[in-house]
């Protein structure tokens, strides 16, 4: 039986990796991939706790996270295509219309 804290540490490492990816990368596709990393980190936590408490509610919530991830990818990639059409670039530094 693996201690629960191992899963929490693994999930924390993956989450922080995704967070760093969102903060430092300029390619907007990599930023979306990093968001997927963070969602997967929370999923690992959910499943580990679900196994620990012998309660499948955590796995049901992973199911909902999956739904949200699919919706996020569909809308996010549509936004990327629209942005690429208007600027011919997917570098986030180029998109500063709302910056002042």
């Amino acid at each position: 039986m693996i201690p629960l804290s191992y899963y929490v540490i693994l999930s924390a490492i993956v989450f922080v990796t995704g967070l760093v990816g969102v903060l430092i990368r300029r390619n907007i596709i990599i930023i979306l991939l990093s968001v997927e990393l963070m969602l997967n980190a929370t999923n690992i936590n959910f499943v580990a706790f679900s196994q620990y408490f012998q309660n499948v509610a955590g796995q049901v919530f992973v199911f909902f996270t999956l739904t949200v991830a699919a919706a996020e990818v569909a809308v996010g990639l549509a936004i990327i295509i629209a942005l690429y059409r208007s600027k011919s670039s997917i570098n986030v530094d180029e998109f500063q219309l709302l910056k002042w």
Binding site: M1, I2, P3, S5, Y6, V8, I9, L10, A12, I13, V14, V16, T17, G18, L19, V20, L23, I24, R25, R26, N27, I29, I30, L32, L33, S34, E36, L37, N40, N43, I44, V47, S50, Q51, Y52, F53, Q54, N55, V56, A57, Q59, V60, V62, F63, F64, L66, T67, V68, A69, A70, A71, V73, A74, V75, L77, A78, I80, I81, A82, I90
Partner: protein
């Protein structure tokens, strides 16, 4: 044995997630994310969540990642500079926060006594399979969130079609 499997899966997960952030080419990043998804599915199998492992491979690896690769190849981007200009500051802060999180997890995680296991709705039944148990809970206790999830998918589908449509705003909407 279980510990060996855990360390194999977690090692590959950590390595590939670092590669996702560090690699220069978006296609390589997506491929290493694919490897990470497969190993997360393996981790789910060791946690007795077989249904989620299958869903992870079908939905994440099969649908979401293919969509990513499709868009990467559609856009055909040239290589560009990877990191923001404030990379040194971000790296410093990231390393600091990561160290802090790990310290907290290690110092607190090993000293506490095991948490009590509460009963209640969704108690896993060992007699029935994993998929049956999830299905029963999903369609009884979590029926309303399930319907909301279907609404989210509908909104995402319409939103994606509207956003990716050509000449947005020139024609009447």
């Amino acid at each position: 044995m279980a510990l060996a499997f855990f360390f194999y899966f977690s090692g590959v997960i950590v390595l590939t997630s670092v590669l996702v952030v560090a690699l220069r080419n978006p296609i390589y990043s997506a491929i290493s994310l694919l490897i990470m998804f497969f190993h997360v599915a393996g981790l789910y199998v060791t946690l007795h969540a077989e249904f989620l492992a299958a869903v992870q491979i079908i939905v994440y690896a099969g649908a979401i990642l293919v969509l990513y690769l499709f868009v990467v190849m559609l856009l055909n981007v040239k290589r560009e500079e990877r990191y923001h200009a404030q990379f040194p500051l971000a790296a410093l802060l990231g390393v600091t926060i990561l160290t802090e999180v790990l310290m907290l997890a290690i110092l607190r995680g090993f000293s506490s006594e095991p948490l009590p296991t509460p009963g209640g709705a969704g108690q896993a039944d060992q007699a029935t399979g994993n998929t049956e148990t999830i299905g029963e809970v999903l369609y009884s206790t979590y029926l309303f969130p399930f319907e909301v999830a279907s609404l989210i998918l509908l909104v995402a589908m319409i939103g994606a079609i509207v956003l990716a449509k050509k000449n947005l705003g020139e024609h009447e909407l």
